[in-house]
Amino acid sequence: MEVLTSLMSGFAVATTPLHLFLIVLGCLLGTLFGALPGLGPINGVAILLPICYTLGLPVESSLIMLAGIYYGAEFGGRISSILLNVPGDAGAVFTCLDGYPMAQKGLAGPALALSGVASFIGGTIAIVGLTFFAPMLASVAIFFGPSEYFVLMIFAFATISALMGSNPAKSLIGVAVGLAVGVVGVDSTTGVLRFTFGEAELFDGFEFLIVIVGFFAVSEIMLMLEHHSSADFEMPKITRVYVTVKELLYCKWTMVRSSIIGFVVGVLPGTGASIASAVSYTIAQKISDKEGTFGKGDMRGLAAPESANNACAGGALIPMLTLGVPGSGTTAVLLGALMLYNINPGPMLFVEQPLLVWGLIASMYIGNVALLVINFPMVRVFTKILQVPYWLLVPSVIVLAFVGVYSVNMSTFALLLSIILGVLGYFLRKLHYPMAPVILGFVLGRIMEDNLRRAFAMSGGEVNIFFQGTINWILWGLTIFILFVPIISKMVAKRYALAK
């Protein structure tokens, strides 16, 4: 097997003492960046890239370490989601939905351990996929043009129907609010500025980070004040710090399915961990939520987004390594790292820089195991965060979140924006508007609009472009399927009951 020989040569590169050290360091730093609200994989890689370069590290060493930060951050993002209900990064928004309720029930330990395993499984499935199917998947990804992306977004929106909950009007308003926030900024087709009020810093629209810090960190602090002030306030208890085999087996299919979804979403350029975790969560809910336990601390609802966002990180490397185009925001910065070292990435990277590419892939096998090994004993340490008194915890969270926001483009205007969004988020949450649709609207809206209009520009306004080609039809089929899953499963259950 040619692939295995290449992989072995990669392991030879990745297992030098320096590289083993950098893998572990990258994973540790990544976990930290992921865990801190306001700092995610993009800032992590962006902050460390100039440092690696200035230190004079060779390109493969830099890349191995920066990649470690990338998937390490996806691993670490879950921690503050579960413990504080403040997502550590973009991919961890959906981890809050069931992770935080678990922590409130005193199951913070199992939640952290379970999500660690889920992350590991997601990461590993993605690396295996990257090793064996990279060129093939890249050639499929090419067939995704604007019309396919648009139908894909329709599919993603269809999965939201799972999140509708008790008040559909408020859920839909949530989507609209998310879409509205996403509209701000320069229109990528005509260059017209929309709702920027003459502020240069709004040209690129709202950074995802600002939205997360506003909607989750700032508003969460305002809500914390209320819990904290109420008379029956009590610190959540920690029961155990491990996860049982039975619990893992309970989630096994959710983890495998979500890993595959996350990986596939990652392979598609222009998407990212937030979409991967959102879609896998909503699909898991559609398929598995028979008793209505999702959102109340269901383990499968925790395992789904965590498998997906880690799998997405591996998938996103495929277009980067095989086509020389970024598969996500973070891989765009990783590509920049190559450019900085005067390597012009393109389809020939595998041929021209085999040791670099295979060294990177091999390092990810090691990194994933390292993350699992590092994270298990740390669960006990992490849960200690819950015992930090609020007078220290709350200001620390807000300062770290603000430094992250400030570091994006060294501006206090970004801080102002996140405060405004924080107040908006506070009211939305107090008035029982679900936040998941808001985030989905924000993430998906822009991609949907851009691709709809690109497709129209290509077809000259004809609608039939969305019904051409096999991929479009498959996506329409999936959309209809996901809309009718609850009805179908009810029918199947009825028939089953009748047969009995």
């Binding site: 017209v192 929309r194 004040l225 609020y390 007078w391 570091s407 924080g422 209009r453």
Partner: protein, 147 residues
Amino acid sequence: MIDRAFGVFLLCVGLYMVYGGISLEVPFSYDPLGPSAFPIGIGALLALLSLFVIAKPGKAHFPDLNTNLKTVLIVVLLFIYQLVFDVLGFLLATALLVFCISRIFKGTTSQALGSGVGVSVVVYGIFSFLLEVPLPMGVIFSKLLGA
């Protein structure tokens, strides 16, 4: 009541988006929708849906006056923080912010002082020296060092 008021707010935002979408000046566009279609559509959707909430508002549970005032105070503090961030510099502004929030969350004066100094110094150290993210020194500190 607050639910209804917030519904009215959302209605206004929706209407404003429709207005903003219509009044965009578009030289030309390669697609029939152009940049106005989405803002108009989203705004209309938002306005329409908010009517449901205005017609049938839910019950909202806001805490007692004291807590509400504290919540407002936090927002005001954060707002002042971003205003004085560049002038006072990261260290001073952060120490003050942390002290105040710490007090609000029932820290004693000494606990709040400790957190203020500790958090600002540790975070400044990590970001400025280890990660080379330039945080503002502030007018006062740079004058002191410059002289």
